[in-house]
C-alpha cells in the first residue's frame, strides 16, 4: 500500500513540475497584450521611405486623438507584403480582420464580393467633388456592383523604365512601336552584360501584367467588357505571343533567365544596369531615388510602345478598405477620410519620392510633379490606363487569374515546352473560362 502511495506522490510531484514548466512562460510574459481590446486596428504595408512610414503612423495617432481614442485603443501594425495573403485569410476566417488595411485591387474585389467590406461610396464621392476631381481610372478597381468598397489611395501606372543615357549614346529616340523597340534593343544591348528588355516571364503577377500590356497593343485581350466572355484564344493574342516568342528566341533581347524571375526580377535587372528597358510600377524609380540617384538621372519613364492596334498603358490600384466586422465603422471611415484629406495625403505621396501617383488630379499642379521631366507622362497614363483584365474590369475572377498565374503558365508553355501559341492560348482560355464561370456562380 505504502509503495503505491509513493508512486502516487511521485506522480503528483511530477505533474506539478510539468504544469509549472508548462505554464511558466505564461507567467513570464503575462504582461503582453491580448487579442482585440482595440477600437481601431490598422494594417500598414511598409513604404519605400521610412519618412512615409513615419508620417502615416503620425496621421493614425493624430486621427485617433481627434476622435477621442486613447493610444492604447489603437493598433498600428506594419504587415509585411510577404505572407499578406495568409495573414488576411486567417484573420477573416477567425472573424478578426483589421478595421482598415491597404489592399490591392484584387483583394478589394474579392472581399467586396464576399460582403466583408464597408460601402465607402460616400467617401469616394466626396473625393470626386474636390477641385479637378480624381482619376476615374482608379475607380473601376474599387467598384463592385456599382458601389465603391475601397478608397483608391493611388494610381499605379506601369511605365517603361528606360535608360535614356544609352539611347543618347546610340543617338536613338525612345521607340514609338514594338518593332522599333526590338531594333533599339538589339542595337544597344551587349549580352550578357546588358540585355535590351527585362520582361518578366516567371510565374508571378508581374508577368501577367507585362504580357497583357503587350497583347493589348496587338489587339488582344483577356475578357470582353461583359466580364463573362473569355477571349483568350484569339488570333490577336496569338500574334502578340509570337512577338514575345521572337523577342525571347530570335532576337534574344529578353534574358533567358526571366522564366525564373519573381516580381523583383525586373527591378533587379534594371537596378543592376543589366536591362535597358523594363515595364514595372515606379517602385524601381522610388528605389533609385533612395539608393542610386546616379542611375535615376539616366532613367526615363515612358508609355508602352505601340503595336498595330495602338498603345495603352496598364495601371493597377491600391486602396484603403474597411472591414465590416469592426464594431466601430465610423472610426474606420474617419481614419480613411483623414488619410485622404488632400493636405495629409499630399505629404505622404511626396515623401515616397515618386512611388505613388496621386489620385487627386490637382495635386499634379504642385512643383514636385512639375519639376521632373520623367513625371510628364503620368497624367496621361492615369487618365487612360487599363486594368489587367481589360476589356473586362477588375473582378474577383480577374484577381484569381492574376493570383494563380494562368497567363504566365501559358507563356511558359510556349517558351519552355515549345507549344505553338494557339495551343497554349487554348489551354489558358479553358482555365480562365473555368475561373470566370466558377466565380459567377458564387
Amino acid at each position: 500500500m505504502t509503495k503505491t502511495n509513493v508512486t502516487r506522490r511521485q506522480m503528483l510531484k511530477t505533474a506539478a513540475a510539468a504544469s509549472l514548466a508548462t505554464t511558466g512562460p505564461w507567467w513570464l510574459v503575462r504582461g503582453s497584450h491580448g487579442a482585440r481590446a482595440k477600437k481601431l486596428v490598422f494594417w500598414q504595408l511598409p513604404n519605400f521611405t521610412p519618412l512615409a512610414d513615419q508620417l502615416q503612423k503620425e496621421q493614425v495617432y493624430e486621427f485617433a486623438k481627434s476622435a477621442g481614442l486613447k493610444e492604447s485603443e489603437v493598433e498600428y501594425a506594419t504587415v509585411a507584403n510577404e505572407g499578406f495573403a495568409e495573414k488576411l485569410a486567417a484573420a477573416l476566417e477567425a472573424g478578426n480582420p483589421p478595421d482598415v488595411a491597404r489592399l490591392y485591387e484584387s483583394n478589394v474585389q474579392f472581399y467586396a464580393a464576399q460582403g466583408h467590406l464597408l460601402d465607402v461610396t460616400d467617401l469616394v464621392d466626396k473625393m470626386r467633388r474636390e477641385p479637378k476631381g480624381i482619376f476615374d481610372s482608379s475607380l473601376t478597381a474599387v467598384r463592385y456592383n456599382g458601389r465603391a468598397y475601397g478608397v483608391p489611395l493611388a494610381v499605379n501606372p506601369w511605365p517603361v523604365h528606360a535608360r535614356i543615357d544609352l539611347l543618347e549614346q546610340h543617338k536613338l529616340d525612345y521607340p514609338k512601336t514594338w518593332d522599333e523597340f526590338i531594333e533599339t534593343c538589339r542595337k544597344i544591348q551587349s549580352p550578357p552584360r546588358l540585355f535590351g528588355f527585362g520582361m518578366c516571364l516567371g510565374l508571378v503577377e508581374d508577368t501577367t501584367d507585362n504580357v497583357m500590356n503587350l497583347l493589348w497593343c496587338y489587339g488582344g485581350k483577356m475578357v470582353e467588357a461583359d466580364n463573362k466572355t473569355v477571349v483568350m484564344n484569339s488570333p490577336e493574342n496569338a500574334a502578340g505571343v509570337k512577338v514575345i516568342e521572337a523577342m525571347f528566341r530570335t532576337h534574344k533581347i529578353i534574358p533567358q533567365g526571366t522564366i525564373g524571375w519573381d516580381n523583383s526580377g525586373n527591378n533587379k535587372a534594371y537596378q543592376s544596369r543589366q536591362a535597358a528597358f523594363v515595364m514595372n510600377p515606379t517602385s524601381i524609380y522610388a528605389y533609385l531615388n533612395q539608393s542610386d540617384p546616379d542611375l535615376q538621372k539616366r532613367t526615363g519613364l515612358f508609355p508602352v510602345p505601340a503595336g498595330p492596334k495602338g498603345t495603352v498603358n496598364l495601371i493597377d490600384t491600391w486602396a484603403f478598405g474597411a472591414f465590416k466586422q469592426n464594431p466601430y465603422p465610423e472610426l474606420a471611415r474617419g481614419l480613411i477620410s483623414h488619410f485622404m484629406q488632400p493636405a495629409n495625403y499630399d505629404k505622404i505621396i511626396q515623401s515616397t519620392g515618386g512611388r505613388w501617383v496621386p489620385v487627386y488630379k490637382r495635386l499634379f499642379d504642385s512643383p514636385f510633379w512639375k519639376s521632373k521631366p520623367e513625371f510628364k507622362h503620368f497624367v496621361g497614363m492615369a487618365e487612360t490606363g487599363m486594368p489587367v483584365s481589360y476589356a473586362g474590369s477588375p473582378t474577383p475572377a480577374a484577381g484569381e487569374v492574376l493570383n494563380t498565374h494562368v497567363i504566365p503558365k501559358m507563356i511558359q508553355r510556349v517558351l519552355v515546352d515549345n507549344w505553338e501559341p494557339p495551343r497554349a492560348l487554348e489551354e489558358c482560355h479553358r482555365r480562365i473560362e473555368e475561373v470566370y464561370a466558377r466565380n459567377l456562380k458564387l
Binding site: 511558466g24 506594419t78 495573414k87 478578426n96 543589366q274 524601381i284
Partner: protein
C-alpha cells in the same frame, strides 16, 4: 592484422579530411555570401559590378538594422518564444517518451504511430484553424499563442526521438535502480535521462531552432512589434517588389548566431552524455 586496421584507419582519416573540406565549402559558401552581402553597399550587391568580396565594406546595413528597426525587440521575442518552447517540449517529450518506451498499456502502438502522423499535416493547412483557435482563446498576437502553436510540431518529434533513445538504455540499469528503491519516475530522472543526454541535446536544439526559425505561424499570428519574431521582422525589408538585401542579410546573419550558440552549449552535453554512458555502461 591490427597494423592493417590502423593503416585503413589512417586512410579513412585522410579521406575524411578531404570530404570535410568539401562539405565545409559547400556549407559555408552560401553563408559567406549572406555575410558578404550584408557588408556591401547596393552598388556592389547588384549586377556584374557585384563583387565576390566586398571592396568597400560598410556597416551601413547594420546601422539601419539597429537604428531604424526594433531589431533588438525581435531578438528578445524570438528568445522568449524559442526558450519556452524548448523547455516545455522537453518536459512533455520526456514524460511521454518514457511511457511509450517502458510502460505497457493499451493503445501504445497507436499513440506511437500517431506521433509521426501529426507531421503529415502541413502547417499551410493548419494555420487557419489554429489561428481561429488562438483568436478564440485571446492568444493571437501573444508570445503564449506562438509557444503553444509551436508545441504542435516540437512535442511529437521530441517524444518520438526520445522514445527511440530511451529504448536503447539497457533495461538492467533501470531494474537495478528499481531494486535500490527508485520509483519509475525516479528511474527516469536518475538513470534514463542522464544516459540520454545526447538525445536530449538533439531534441532541445531541434525545438529551439524550429521555434526560432518558424515563419508561417509567426507571420499569421503576430501583428505587434512587441511580439514579432526575427523571421517575420526580416521580411519587412522586402518592400513591394524591391529587396533591401543588405539589412535583410545582416539580420539573417545575426539571427543565425543564437542557434549556433545554443548548439555549442548542447554539444558539450553530447560529449558528456557519451562519457557518462561509457562509465555506466
Amino acid at each position: 592484422m591490427p597494423r592493417t586496421t590502423s593503416g585503413t584507419r589512417r586512410l579513412f582519416r585522410w579521406i575524411g579530411n578531404g570530404l570535410l573540406l568539401v562539405m565545409l565549402v559547400w556549407t559555408l559558401v552560401p553563408f559567406y555570401w549572406m555575410i558578404a552581402t550584408s557588408l556591401k553597399a547596393d552598388r556592389e550587391i547588384y549586377g556584374f559590378e557585384a563583387t565576390l568580396v566586398p571592396h568597400h565594406p560598410t556597416l551601413a546595413a547594420y546601422v539601419r538594422l539597429f537604428q531604424q528597426t526594433p531589431f533588438l525587440k525581435y531578438v528578445r521575442n524570438s528568445t522568449i518564444i524559442a526558450v519556452s518552447t524548448t523547455a516545455v517540449s522537453l518536459v512533455f517529450g520526456c514524460l511521454g517518451a518514457y511511457a511509450l518506451a517502458r510502460l505497457r498499456f493499451r493503445g501504445r502502438r497507436l499513440i506511437a504511430r500517431g506521433l509521426v502522423f501529426t507531421y503529415l499535416v502541413p502547417p499551410s493547412l493548419l494555420f487557419i484553424p489554429l489561428f481561429a483557435m488562438m483568436s478564440a482563446l485571446s492568444l493571437a498576437d501573444t508570445h503564449q499563442g506562438l509557444i503553444l502553436a509551436y508545441l504542435g510540431f516540437t512535442v511529437p518529434f521530441c517524444t518520438w526521438l526520445l522514445m527511440g533513445y530511451f529504448r536503447s538504455v539497457p533495461l538492467e540499469l533501470e531494474e537495478a535502480a528499481l531494486v535500490d528503491g527508485c520509483t519509475r519516475l525516479g528511474a527516469l530522472i536518475r538513470v534514463v535521462l542522464p544516459m540520454s543526454l545526447p538525445a536530449l541535446a538533439v531534441v532541445a536544439f531541434f525545438s529551439f531552432t524550429q521555434a526560432w526559425n518558424e515563419f508561417l505561424y509567426a507571420n499569421v499570428f503576430v501583428n505587434s512589434v512587441e511580439v514579432r519574431t526575427i523571421t517575420t521582422g526580416l521580411t519587412m525589408f522586402i518592400i513591394e517588389d524591391v529587396f533591401f538585401w543588405g539589412p535583410m542579410m545582416g539580420a539573417a546573419f545575426l539571427s543565425a548566431l543564437p542557434p549556433l550558440v545554443v548548439y555549442l552549449i548542447f554539444q558539450r552535453w553530447v560529449v558528456k552524455g557519451l562519457t557518462l554512458g561509457a562509465v555506466k555502461g
